[in-house]
């Protein structure tokens, strides 16, 4: 325990004869950032009005809590983060009673009691107890080695553990957790961060910035597990590891729990003060008792609680004004956040709740690792997220707080203050026109403005032509905007529109995106969007499904399908109908069925009162009118009879139609039914750019309509005629002949190779017919019929990818996420009001 100025009672001091004899006594509970700041503000206004006593639970003088992170990281010492040392207390005649928390308040008698048994009367009481770390209630949470990150003693505990090296697990991928992880990692520990949410710091960052942050931390050797839920902390006498709900076990000699904080309100609550999420205060920081004030993280003002320091400063000003009867009033705070991890710049401010006419302005510069997003509403900035280049953070924050009209700056805003306030250059075209000839435009390929202009002068009048002519914008694409402006400046209206872009979110076309995904080894949708400079934060309903498919195709077995990037039918594994119900089509291999299957279908129709069951044009049965909530139960029943999804809803293999063939038909030349079943068994479950249909006919009479399918087989005496690129639909197209093969095995092999070529090269939502018209049937023949080695490789890649995709999606859904189909809650007005 430490006492400063003990015995000083506030009676008239020497050399200060005009001090009143009886001064009001202000007792402060909490020697933290808000408590001491409040006293500082008070002293600045009237140093003589109150006699001040501060109780602190910690054994220290007032220090800067936010700098605990640099202390942990070894960038600062404790002495360097002290805000007010012993001399401050002494000079201002403040009594500090440390290591002795207040345990009770008697508001009636206006007395506080401390743990050591001390009691003290007050005229005004200020509660500034801050927050308590939230500890998730898992088994093992009380083991030695489970540490929170709140005060100096926590840092000491972490440093002691880090001295022994080994593994550390940090639970929580928010600001605090990541700073702890960074510090421990710099101290030589092998760190794993476990985060429940899909992206890091999700409260401050959007998905794109969260992804960049994750990549940067991984590059520094930390293991980041997102979407990971802690089940248990393992160990007998001390922490030994952490087990996740999915069964993964991570060894650890310490576990840092940094999942969040809760306002520390126990003391106030016990004293009968009004407490919501925090201690409730008015605009002058007065609680429900006029003699008790509260400030800092422990309070709730206008329904809000804060976890950052900036609001404290404003609260303390209002509080001190009130204490000297010059009431000003606190009006709530807008906050911004920075992550204090050296070398990684992250800034976030305001909220992104969009609303009426909210607009995103996004800038991505992959080569510099920069992502900036501004949310503008009614010509005012309402939110900002910056990653990699946070230099303009304070400028944006200022515009945001002052609610300044940014309509004049709109075009330039995202490029930052220097650029936007360039006065005469406030026109991007003028700015680009003003660049000198040797200014670099394309960093990847070292192309200057002069070279781009020369290329345009030589006749390149589209983005594509420039890319082909001088390579500018042909790699990462971050200079695409500049090149387009140069085209506009140089050619005016003569600019030709480039190839069709994927959608309005990008300047790249489908083929470019696919090529870059493979060339740069991209692994996730946010990564693609960042590397290729998407102009929206998370794409749109056109590009998300396409990217999801391209990644799935490029990384079989590795890529985790993004359900939220799938059209409803593929997400629900059924076809949505115009009334919002679904139709369900179980697979019927080659159109063959059995009494057991028919019975199961009949039972489902009755049990779920399906209004209709129909034979489809694809040789199977379609059950109509199933409610979303009933789908899992329907599937479970169909699964029980051995049936799987027919993917009648998917950009995927649909049906393989067959005719009866040689087994029964007097004209049949081969076993078309048998081959059809084998082909369906090989190809089902595969995701494709568009739907894909196959048919096998037993003879040239072609009862299975094989010549209007994506892949058709017509059996003849001497073998199998293969043809491709047909469809029915609005524009009927008959197939092109591919080649003839002698055996069933070859027919299967060619089929696999063709499907894979289509999967790898067609654009999303391009069926085989338009694809073949685009690339020419000769190209397909060259790749499939003429190139044996290439064919084998394609078929091998197809079979490899199939080894991951032939799980029945219905069974999977029934097993693990039927919740997706259930309602979140139900509301019955009468019942709820009773």
């Amino acid at each position: 325990m430490e006492l400063i100025g003990e015995g000083w009672t506030g009676e008239a001091a020497e050399g200060a004869p005009d001090v009143p004899v009886r001064r009001e006594h202000l007792v402060v509970v909490g020697n933290g950032m808000a408590g001491c700041r409040a006293v500082e503000e008070l002293l600045a206004r009237d140093p003589l009005r109150y006699r001040v006593t501060i109780f602190g639970a910690e054994p220290h003088v007032n220090y800067n809590r936010i700098m605990l992170s640099p202390v942990l990281a070894g960038e600062k010492t404790f002495d360097e983060i002290v805000i007010n040392g012993h001399d401050w207390y002494r000079d201002n005649r403040i009594e500090l009673i440390s290591s002795d928390p207040i345990v009770a308040i008697d508001r009636e008698a206006r007395i506080v009691a401390s743990r050591s048994g001390r009691t003290l009367g007050y005229d005004k009481l200020l509660i500034a107890t801050g927050s308590d770390p939230f500890i998730i209630p898992v088994p093992g949470k009380d083991l030695p080695g489970v540490i929170s990150f709140r005060d100096m003693s926590d840092v000491d505990a972490m440093l002691a553990a880090a001295g022994k090296g080994g593994d550390a697990v940090v639970i929580g991928g928010g600001l605090l957790g990541l700073e702890a992880a960074h510090g421990l990692s710099l101290r030589g520990m092998k760190v794993t961060v476990i985060h429940l949410m899909p992206t890091l710091m999700e409260r401050q960052l959007d998905e794109a910035a969260g992804w960049l942050l994750k990549s940067a931390l991984e590059a520094r050797g930390q293991t980041i597990l997102t979407g990971a839920d802690t089940a248990e902390i393992l160990g007998t006498d001390a922490v030994e590891g952490v087990r996740l709900k999915d069964g993964t076990v991570i060894p650890a000699s310490i576990v840092v729990m940094a999942v969040g904080i809760r306002p520390s309100t126990a003391l106030a609550r016990a004293a009968g003060l009004a407490v919501g999420r925090g201690i409730q205060v008015d605009d002058h920081m007065v609680t429900s008792d006029a003699n008790v004030l509260a400030v800092g993280e422990c309070v709730e003002h206008a329904g809000l609680v804060y976890g950052l320091v900036a609001p404290l400063w404003e609260m303390c000003r209002a509080l001190a004004d009130g204490l000297v009867d010059k009431h000003s009033g606190y009006r709530g705070s807008v906050t911004s956040t920075k992550l204090k991890v050296s070398g990684i710049d992250v800034f976030s401010a305001g909220d992104f709740s969009g609303g009426d006419g909210a607009e995103d302005i996004v800038l991505r510069d992959a080569s510099r690792g920069v992502y900036k997003r501004l949310v503008v509403r009614n010509d005012r900035i309402v939110g900002a997220v910056l990653y990699g280049d946070t230099g303009d953070g304070s400028w944006y924050f200022d515009l945001l707080r002052k609610q300044e009209d940014v309509s004049q700056l709109r075009e330039m805003l995202i490029f930052g203050q220097a650029f936007a306030s360039g006065g005469g250059q406030a026109d991007p075209k003028a700015a680009v026109a003003a660049l000198s000839g040797d200014a670099e435009i394309c960093g990847c390929n070292g192309v200057s403005k002069g070279q781009v202009v020369a290329c345009i002068d030589k006749g390149a009048c589209s983005l594509d032509a420039v890319r082909a002519g001088c390579k500018a914008s042909a790699s990462c694409g971050s200079c695409t905007g500049l090149v387009e402006t140069l085209l506009a400046v140089t050619l005016g209206d003569a600019v030709q529109a480039g190839p069709k872009t994927m959608c309005k979110c990008t300047s790249f076309g489908h083929d470019d995106v696919r090529r870059e995904i493979v060339a740069q080894g991209m692994r996730s949708i946010p990564e693609v969007m960042q590397m290729l400079h998407w102009s929206t934060p998370d794409g749109c309903s056109s590009c998300r499904p396409a990217l999801n498919y391209y990644l799935l195709c490029a990384l079989p077995g590795d890529y985790k399908d993004d359900q939220q990037s799938r059209f409803v039918n593929e997400r629900m594994h059924a076809n949505i109908q115009k009334d919002g119900t679904y139709s369900v089509v179980p697979r019927m291999w080659g159109g063959i069925t059995s009494p057991r299957e028919l019975r199961a279908i009949a039972d489902v129709v009755e049990k779920f009162e399906a209004p209709m069951v129909k034979v489809t044009g694809g040789q199977r049965l379609d059950i109509f009118g199933i409610k979303k909530e009933d789908l899992p139960a329907v599937w479970a029943d169909l699964n029980a009879a051995g049936m799987v999804s027919g993917h009648a809803y998917g950009k995927s293999l649909r049906t393989v139609k067959t005719c009866v063939g040689s087994e029964w038909c007097r004209f049949g030349t081969q076993d078309s039914t048998g081959l059809g079943v084998q082909i369906e068994r090989m190809t089902w479950g595969s995701w494709m750019p568009h739907k894909f249909k196959i048919a096998v006919s037993g003879c040239p009479r072609n009862c299975a309509e094989a010549t209007i399918k994506d892949f058709g087989v017509v059996c003849v005496d001497s073998g199998y005629e293969l043809s491709v690129g047909g469809n029915g639909g609005i524009k009927v197209r008959a197939t092109d002949f591919l080649c003839k093969v002698a055996t069933e095995a070859e027919a299967m092999h060619y089929c696999a190779a063709f499907v894979q070529l289509y999967r790898e090269e067609a654009r999303y939502l391009e069926r085989t017919a338009p694809w073949i018209e685009r690339v020419g049937v000769d190209y397909i023949k060259a790749r499939i019929a003429d190139d044996a080695e290439g064919r084998d490789a394609l078929a091998a890649r197809f079979l490899f990818s199939q080894s991951f995709s032939q799980e029945d999606p219905w069974a999977e859904r029934v097993a693990d996420d039927a919740r997706q189909h259930a309602h979140m809650a139900e509301f019955r007005p009468e019942g709820a009001m009773a």
């Binding site: 969009g354 009426d356 929206t536 934060p537 998370d538 499904p545 990037s565 409803v568 979303k628 809650a825």
Partner: protein, 112 residues
């Protein structure tokens, strides 16, 4: 739970960039959306075009693309974007302590 707000569950129960539904007895179903940046919105689950269940659409930015004919509906206002015209009623929603709360009065109005 206060009288003005209906507590419908944890935020975590709604997938990011996804939606969950809340049927209202005698009224219209409510769709509750969670966006990529973790904002929550609620609309009557009916597209202004031909009544498509918006809860089943693709959520992007602060919009949802209707699953039936791909109209884009702004989550904050319920209005169709671009060339399309029409509006779906908005239900005020808030998140408090990780719980999702929807406005009782609007829910009842949607039910009327």
């Amino acid at each position: 739970m206060t009288a003005d707000w209906l507590d419908i569950g944890w935020l975590e129960q709604i997938p990011v960039r996804g939606s969950r539904t809340v049927p209202v007895a005698g009224g219209e179903e409510i769709a509750v959306f969670r966006t990529g940046d973790n904002q929550v919105f609620a609309l009557v689950n009916r597209c202004p075009h031909k009544g498509g269940p918006l809860s089943q659409g693709i959520v992007h930015g602060h919009s949802v693309a209707c699953p039936l004919h791909n109209w884009n509906i702004a989550l904050a206002t319920g209005s169709a974007q671009g060339e399309d015209k029409g509006c779906t009623p908005v239900v005020p929603v808030k998140v408090s302590g990780g719980r999702v709360l929807i406005c009782r009065a609007s829910t009842l109005k949607a039910a009327a």
